[in-house]
């Protein structure tokens, strides 16, 4: 194991060592709080399959696609059959690596502020070397996108009363749109559609891939925004549908039975 070397003064090594004089700790603290609240809620929600998560045309996105009819006799929540995919996609996402790298593992907590871990191997060793499977979770996420859109369209069709519209329908559409933006702005997708090419102009096939790469690159510039917006909105949609399904609030809609 390599010996830890010193640095010349006025600098020093060690957690939070810095010459910065601003409130550098605010951003990682806020991100840590937000990650805890939103991912904590989704984890709890996945286990709360006894608290209604479906009413009329609305199904919570945490339980989309609808597997609970098939697996209702199983002892665990059907959400657990679904969430491993999106959870793995977010856990290995290049943006979330930044978010939890700074706020949870504090390596570093902020730029030019000392790391928490005394030894650092990054993504060269287990478990963080598993970040390299991000593209496989992308493939899973890409399967989920059409399923979410089917769920969003189904949000306009009550099984008993037929087509209509309600506030929940729009929330499901916005949720599907934000998750689509998050998925299609993925860094791995950007590489796979064309970023791996060295010559964009060498063939019609490469020129087509360059066009797609350009679109994904434009989306990719806002990947962080889509990551947060989609996370917040999936929680908001789940909360809303559960509150409606359990009779705590009334959904403004064109149907008559709820």
């Amino acid at each position: 194991m390599a010996q830890r070397q010193a640095v010349a003064p006025p600098h020093r090594l060690g957690f939070a060592a810095t010459l910065r004089r601003d409130t550098w700790w605010v951003e990682p603290a806020l991100v840590l709080a937000a990650l805890t609240v939103f991912f904590g809620y989704l984890t709890v929600s996945a286990f709360l399959d006894n608290w209604a998560f479906e009413i009329g045309p609305y199904l919570s996105p945490v339980f989309e696609p609808k597997l609970h009819g098939v697996y209702s006799q199983w002892w665990f929540s059907p959400a657990l059959l679904i969430l491993w995919g999106p959870a793995g996609f977010r856990l290995t996402c290049y943006y979330y690596r930044l978010a939890y790298g700074r706020s949870v593992f504090m390596s570093p907590p902020a730029c030019a502020v000392g790391d928490l871990p005394p030894r650092y191997y990054g993504e060269t060793r287990f478990p963080f070397i598993l970040q390299n499977v991000h593209r496989y979770f992308l493939y899973v996420a890409l399967v989920f996108i059409p399923l979410l859109w089917i769920g969003a369209i189904r949000g306009f069709h009550d099984p008993d009363e037929g087509w209509g519209v309600g506030l929940g329908s729009f929330m499901l559409v916005i949720n599907a749109a934000l998750l689509s933006l998050y998925t299609f702005s993925c860094h791995s997708l950007r590489h796979l559609v064309g970023g791996g090419l060295d010559c964009f102009s060498c063939s019609l096939y490469n020129r087509t891939r360059h066009r797609i790469w350009s679109w994904v690159s434009r989306l990719n510039a806002n990947h962080r925004l889509y990551a947060w917006a989609s996370l917040v909105f999936i929680v908001a949609t789940d909360v809303y549908i559960r509150l409606v399904a359990n009779g705590h609030i009334t959904d403004p809609n064109t149907w008559s039975r709820f």
């Binding site: 390599a2 010996q3 910065r20 690596r97 730029c111 790391d115 990054g122 593209r135």
Partner: protein, 256 residues
């Protein structure tokens, strides 16, 4: 004109301290103006490296109030007038004297990177590239080698023992420039993983935040290189596809 306090680190690898100087600061002055005024009027032995004073040469990198910045591109008006402005040398490189550090590690790394290896020219002896191919790598050519990204990267800043196994952001920019060049035929992915240590990067983007040329180092250089490494080492489907196409993964010219 206003009297301001600038606190400059004076010392060498053996030790030192911040020394306060009172300086008349004019409107529009940058930190380098004030440091040079101190050198001219109060501390002629103050060591500071600078050259163009226009943000083009990358010489005057320092840590100003703890933030890695170019002194020539940092206005004094950014900081509260009633508090000292602290100027320190870069942390990641060995201190020579005062604000001057030894950045020769970077030039040693540069020598290990396989140079541009172009394909044979067209039949008329010319090399041709399309604009869309050049656009992507031109961003990387903006690098002025100020080494602020190297300085802020926590992999070597907070863990100096990693300097032997991690090249740092500036050299990933260089590697990306070569790897994505439409005429280059070399495949440096093995080097990128094994010698350059791209796996050490946990994409916290501090290099991008401090880059005075606004190069999207993480998004456009490091992450694409990580993905190219995944192609070679962590993607069995890709490996199989390359084999079926008759490509030998990792070989020169294997990409495309």
């Amino acid at each position: 004109m206003a009297l301001r306090t600038i606190s400059i680190y004076r010392g060498d690898s053996g030790g030192g301290r911040f020394v306060d100087f009172q300086v008349d600061v004019e409107e529009g002055n940058v930190v380098l103006d004030v440091v040079l005024k101190v050198q001219a009027e109060q501390a002629p032995d103050l060591a500071v490296r600078w050259n163009c004073k226009a943000g083009r040469c990358g010489s005057c990198s320092a840590e100003i109030n703890g933030h890695p910045r170019l002194m020539c591109m940092t206005r004094m008006s950014m900081f509260p007038a009633d508090r000292p402005v602290y100027v320190a040398p870069l942390k990641t490189f060995p201190l020579v004297k005062d604000l001057v550090t030894d950045v020769s590690l970077n030039y040693q790394i540069a020598k290990t990177i396989p140079p541009f290896q172009p394909r044979p020219p067209d039949p008329d002896g010319l090399y041709r590239m399309s604009q869309e191919d050049v656009d992507r790598v031109q961003e990387f050519r903006r690098c002025i080698e100020c080494f602020l990204c190297q300085n802020v990267c926590h992999v070597i800043r907070d863990h100096p023992e990693n300097k032997a196994r991690f090249y740092g952001p500036r050299w990933f920019v260089r590697l990306a420039e070569l790897e994505m060049h439409p005429l280059d035929t070399a495949d440096r992915r093995q080097l990128i993983r094994e010698m350059a240590g791209v796996g050490f990067c946990n994409v916290t983007k501090c290099c991008t935040e401090v880059c005075p040329e606004h190069i999207k180092i993480t998004d456009n250089a490091i992450i694409p290189l990580k993905e190219r490494v995944v192609d070679l080492y962590f993607d069995p489907l890709r490996w199989l596809a390359d084999r079926l196409k008759g490509k030998r993964p990792g070989a020169v010219g294997a990409q495309q």
